[in-house]
């Protein structure tokens, strides 16, 4: 019996080996080199201890970018999760035009980033569509991407682009909830709200973990749009960690970039492990 178990373990290992090889070559080993470089000077020739880390943590650009990134993630992810869940629940209840709405929410995913960026520029430029509309309403416009409104625009754009994907994920979770549960609860006198709180939400918790993790990772991709619209130095409210990494790479500041990358990976890893733990504990309960 023990022999069979051991054999199974090795068989499992063989199955994951191709993937492990790819991940090792393209992620793990390069990242090990990044960790090594984070303790070396820029030329990679001399050991500098934690100097790069202290430089990064005292770097105003890093602190600003980190703060903006955290703020962005902290606002976007709850908003995205709540909005997409609400819409998914409504769609799942078979509201009128549900099929059309499902497609409509998915369309932003099919639009290339270049198109989105072009539209974004047309919309929010000083002489753009939005200011044109405001002018007709006798409201003074602004160069929106150079004001604090840039952050709101970035959040809006992220929600618009990712809402459909998250709705689909929620819908997949919702479709797995047996109708009998709702029927039984209804017979017991539970109203819609109580059914949502006591049946839907608890069953969707595993989906919540997946959605949160994916949303968290996807939130870093919003840099593409911000970079293409406003360049390497956008308004300070949308100056994200990826801007900083991009600019450090351009300036060959590999020492600081390595230390910052390691820091960022640690933060992301802790966040994901925390979510996993949270989900795991709930799952066991």
């Amino acid at each position: 019996m023990k022999k069979i178990k051991t054999m199974e373990r090795y068989t499992d290992l063989l199955f994951i080996l191709p993937s492990l090889v790819g991940v090792s070559i393209f992620v793990l080993i390069p990242f090990a080199d990044v960790i090594r470089r984070s303790f070396l000077n820029v030329t990679g020739k001399s050991f500098v201890g934690i100097k790069n880390y202290t430089a990064v943590f005292s770097n105003r650009a890093f602190l600003l970018a980190g703060e903006n990134t955290l703020k962005f993630v902290g606002i976007c992810i709850p908003l995205l999760i709540i909005l997409s869940l609400l819409i998914a629940v409504l769609l799942n209840q078979g509201i009128l035009g549900g099929h059309f709405l499902k497609s409509a929410f998915l369309i932003p995913m099919a639009i290339p980033v270049a198109t989105i960026v072009l539209f974004w520029r047309l919309l929010f430029h000083q002489q753009g569509i939005l200011n044109g509309i405001l002018q007709r309403l006798s409201i003074e416009g602004d160069n929106w991407m150079e004001t604090d409104a840039a952050f709101v625009i970035l959040v809006g754009s992220y929600l618009w682009k990712n809402l459909g994907y998250n709705i689909v994920l929620w819908l997949a979770g919702l479709s797995g909830i047996p109708d009998v549960l709702y029927q039984a609860a209804e017979m017991d006198g539970a109203n819609r709200w109580k059914r949502f709180i006591y049946i839907t939400l608890p069953i969707l918790k595993p989906t919540l973990y997946t959605i949160t993790t994916l949303a968290f990772l996807n939130s870093f991709k919003v840099f593409r749009e911000a970079y293409l619209v406003a360049g390497a130095y956008p308004h300070e409210s949308i100056y994200l960690l990826q801007h900083l990494f991009n600019n450090w790479f351009r300036d060959l500041a590999l020492d600081k970039m390595s230390a910052a990358a390691v820091t960022m990976v640690i933060i992301i890893l802790i966040s994901i492990l925390f979510l996993q733990k949270l989900w795991g504990a709930e799952h066991e309960n």
Partner: protein, 763 residues
């Protein structure tokens, strides 16, 4: 079983590790000896200048190899309207062929010429724009044609083209690039870009080969006409006038390589043609599937930036002649002969990297190759302009190459942060190279030492520009900084002008920026690198005052009229070098009151000196006379990990030498004092000035004028602020601020936020 499995897995993981480590292994040895495979033989360029004296201000119109393998040229000079020379020994010796000078009527000048395989000639001529000056490039009136046979008999030929007989605006259609086919038909391209086939007896058009594209050149191969155009190569049958099948292989080759054809000539074999361009000399057989590169242009004058190819001739021994004419109108004849004993590829290879192209560097490389046939210098340009690569993309690509150990040997550091590269240990100390020159006192040391750190020279300008102001001496006395400049301009505005402009720009605010930022931007940064908001605000305020004062004199109609001129001068940031020479001539006629711009060539000095010579109330000085600022227009540095340091040092040494420093392509003045003083030798500016009449001609500056300028150069010791990211951020808010779309405070706030983030990144 368990053991086997364990071992298999261990082996697999070990293999992965080995493969990965090998893949990541730094390339230790850089390939710098491509000729090491032992292959021998390549074409070598040699100076093949004509041994005879072709006369003062000569010009060459035709150069041909005849069927008896002799060579023949048609030329003219200031004293003789036409001369013909022949060589029977492959160009070593030349004899003048007797020809009656009256074949060109008095008061006329030869325009174009062709020679057929037997030695018969066909020429066109006309009257110069200025009847008193036969050397002027442009002709006026109708162009006439005549045939001159080998015995010297002249037969006029009436050729009628659309627009060749009458003109309302002084333009007459004419044939250029004349050639004679084997059947005697005459060919030429008219002003509309069509190739005409002319009957040599009647002068009537036999066939017209029209295209709507630019024609680079054409060649006649027996009964075929091959035309190289913008989007490919076409061939025609000249007996029928019909188009033959497209030369797709040749067209695709040229289009895929973004190459243009400079010249084409027929080879000695059937259907064989040769063509040349900056990339080299190529051979192609019509209908063939292969384009053969005979000569690599990057190793010789073909890639030089300061010359056009005029004639390509295959010599009887299989070598080639190429006749060049440089921007100053001087002719150079080069021969390309096959040397079977020399390595197929030069033994040593180095790479020079620059974010943007540089004619000066290209020209220096071409000259260096000529003097050093054992070295191949590859010039790698980060932003070619042919694609959508941005500066940031190019820098990132460069960084990847550097980190992979495949970086260039020499950097052109324009738009690259010199201090950052020095801090990161990427640059080698060049003190030993520059030291030799400094010992001889050959360099403007204050300029070449601009980037000296702890006694070491990691980067040094090889060219520099100087921000200048050109105006009446009494005005210059009043101007020493942006405050006094603004005060004077505002005073002029309040007084009112009878005509013209205060400053030589019309509306485009960026032109004003190009004049002011080199001297002002550095002032806005503190010693610790932080931005001084007060000084930045002052810069914006004063610039806005200047802009508004200068705009006050323009009516909308005048603005519309001149705005295109502005846009031509300032298309984008690349043309931010605003040359003081552009508008110097407008000062004495009162079209502008102040001429501000950069001196980037000895030719520019000629313009400024000319104004003072004609009216000594005008003078010129550094824009802010209290600041000894210069713009490092080409700055070089040697990579600390250069693969071939000795060859790299040889090339850098050459760049500071007299020959390379004597190149003058408007990209900056030489830092070599000797090369600067060599400029005191008078140069003929006839060709350079084109159509100016004798009275308006600018002559080369006199020795004392150059000496006066040199004294100013000797004092220059501070490089201007050059950070492309800051300048780009400044450009974003500059026009909105000056035109009133945003306030000065908003502009400064926005700019400072971006600069502060940038500066914070560098901490």
């Amino acid at each position: 079983m368990k053991r086997i499995l364990k071992r298999t897995i261990a082996l697999l993981l070990l293999s992965i590790l080995i493969v990965t480590l090998v893949g990541c292994k730094k390339e230790v040895e850089k390939t710098n000896n491509q000729g090491g495979n032992g292959a021998k033989g390549r074409y070598i360029e040699e100076d093949g200048s004509f041994p005879m004296d072709l006369g003062n201000g000569f010009n060459i119109y035709a150069f041909e190899r005849l069927e008896d393998d002799s060579l023949r040229i048609i030329s003219s000079n200031k004293d003789t309207p036409i001369e013909v020379y022949a060589s029977n020994d492959g160009g070593n010796t030349w004899e003048k062929v007797s020809i009656d000078a009256s074949v060109i009527p008095e008061g006329k000048r030869i325009d174009n010429a062709a020679i057929d395989k037997k030695g018969n000639m066909f020429i066109s001529y006309g009257a110069p724009l200025d009847p008193n000056d036969l050397s002027l490039a442009l002709l006026s009136g109708k162009i006439l044609y005549e045939k001159i046979d080998v015995d010297g008999n002249v037969t006029p030929l009436e050729i009628i083209l659309p627009g060749s007989e009458e003109s309302e605006d002084g333009w007459y259609n004419t044939l250029i690039a004349l050639k004679i086919a084997n059947n005697g038909d005459i060919f030429g391209i008219d002003d509309s870009g069509s190739v005409y086939q002319i009957d040599p007896t009647t002068g009537k058009n036999k066939n017209i080969y029209s295209s709507n594209q630019y024609i680079y050149d054409y060649v006649l191969l027996d009964n075929k006409l091959v035309v190289a155009m913008d989007d490919g190569v076409e061939q025609y049958d000249i007996t029928t006038g019909n188009q033959l099948e497209n030369l797709e292989i040749l067209s695709e080759y040229l289009l895929s390589d973004s190459s243009e054809v400079s010249l084409m000539t027929a080879g000695s074999k059937e259907n064989e043609l040769y063509f040349s361009n900056q990339k080299g000399l190529f051979r192609y057989i019509l209908g063939g599937t292969l384009v053969e590169q005979m000569v690599d242009g990057s190793l010789n004058s073909m890639s030089a930036a300061d010359a056009y190819m005029l004639q390509l001739v295959e010599k009887p021994d299989g070598s080639f002649f190429i006749l060049y004419q440089n921007f100053q109108g001087e002719f150079h004849l080069m021969t390309y002969s096959y040397d079977e004993n020399i390595s197929a590829v030069p033994d040593n290879e180095i790479t020079v990297y620059s974010l943007e192209d540089s004619s000066t560097v290209r020209q220096a490389i071409a000259l260096f190759h000529k003097a050093n046939p054992d070295v191949h210098v590859i010039f790698e340009v980060g932003i070619s302009g042919d694609d959508a690569i941005t500066m940031s993309d190019a820098l990132k690509k460069l960084n990847i190459e550097i980190m992979a150990g495949k970086g260039p040997d020499i950097f052109i550091l324009n738009d690259i942060r010199v201090d950052s590269y020095i801090d990161k240990g990427l640059l080698e100390d060049m003190s030993s190279i520059l030291g030799e020159y400094e010992e001889q006192g050959a360099l403007f040391e204050k300029i070449t030492s601009a980037y000296k750190v702890d006694g070491k020279i990691y980067a040094a300008p090889i060219r520099f520009m100087m921000p200048m102001i050109n105006a009446k001496q009494e005005v210059l006395n009043q101007i020493s900084n942006i405050e006094t400049l603004t005060d004077y301009i505002v005073k002029l505005k309040n007084q009112g002008l009878d005509k013209g402009l205060i400053l030589d720009f019309y509306k485009t605010s960026e032109i004003l920026l190009s004049k002011l930022y080199p001297v002002e931007l550095g002032n806005c940064f503190e010693v610790d690198g932080s931005v001084d908001g007060g000084k930045l605000t002052n810069f914006f305020n004063k610039s806005k005052e200047i802009y508004q004062a200068c705009m006050q004199f323009e009516t909308q109609d005048e603005l519309e009229k001149h705005i295109e001129a502005d846009l031509y001068r300032f298309k984008h940031l690349e043309s931010i070098n605003d040359r003081a020479a552009f508008n110097a001539y407008q000062l004495p006629i009162g079209e502008v009151q102040l001429n501000i711009g950069n001196i980037s060539s000895l030719y520019d000095i000629a313009h400024l000196a000319d104004v003072t010579r004609k009216d000594d109330s005008f003078s010129y000085q550094r824009l802010y006379k209290d600041k000894a600022l210069f713009i490092p227009s080409i700055t070089i540095g040697m990579s600390s990990s250069a693969g071939d340091k000795e060859t790299s040092k040889r090339f850098i040494n050459y760049l500071f030498g007299e020959e390379a420093q004597s190149i003058d392509l408007y990209e900056g003045l030489p830092v070599n004092r000797v090369a600067f003083e060599m400029g005191e030798e008078e140069k003929d500016l006839t060709h350079y000035q084109g159509i100016l009449s004798e009275a308006d001609r600018i002559i080369w500056p006199k020795a004392e004028e150059l000496h006066y300028f040199k004294q100013m150069v000797e004092q220059l010791d501070t490089p201007t602020f050059e950070n492309i990211l800051v300048i780009e951020a400044l450009l974003e808010v500059w026009d909105p601020c000056l035109t009133g779309n945003i306030t000065v405070d908003e502009a400064v706030e926005s700019l400072m936020k971006k600069i502060n983030i940038y500066l914070a990144e560098q901490q």
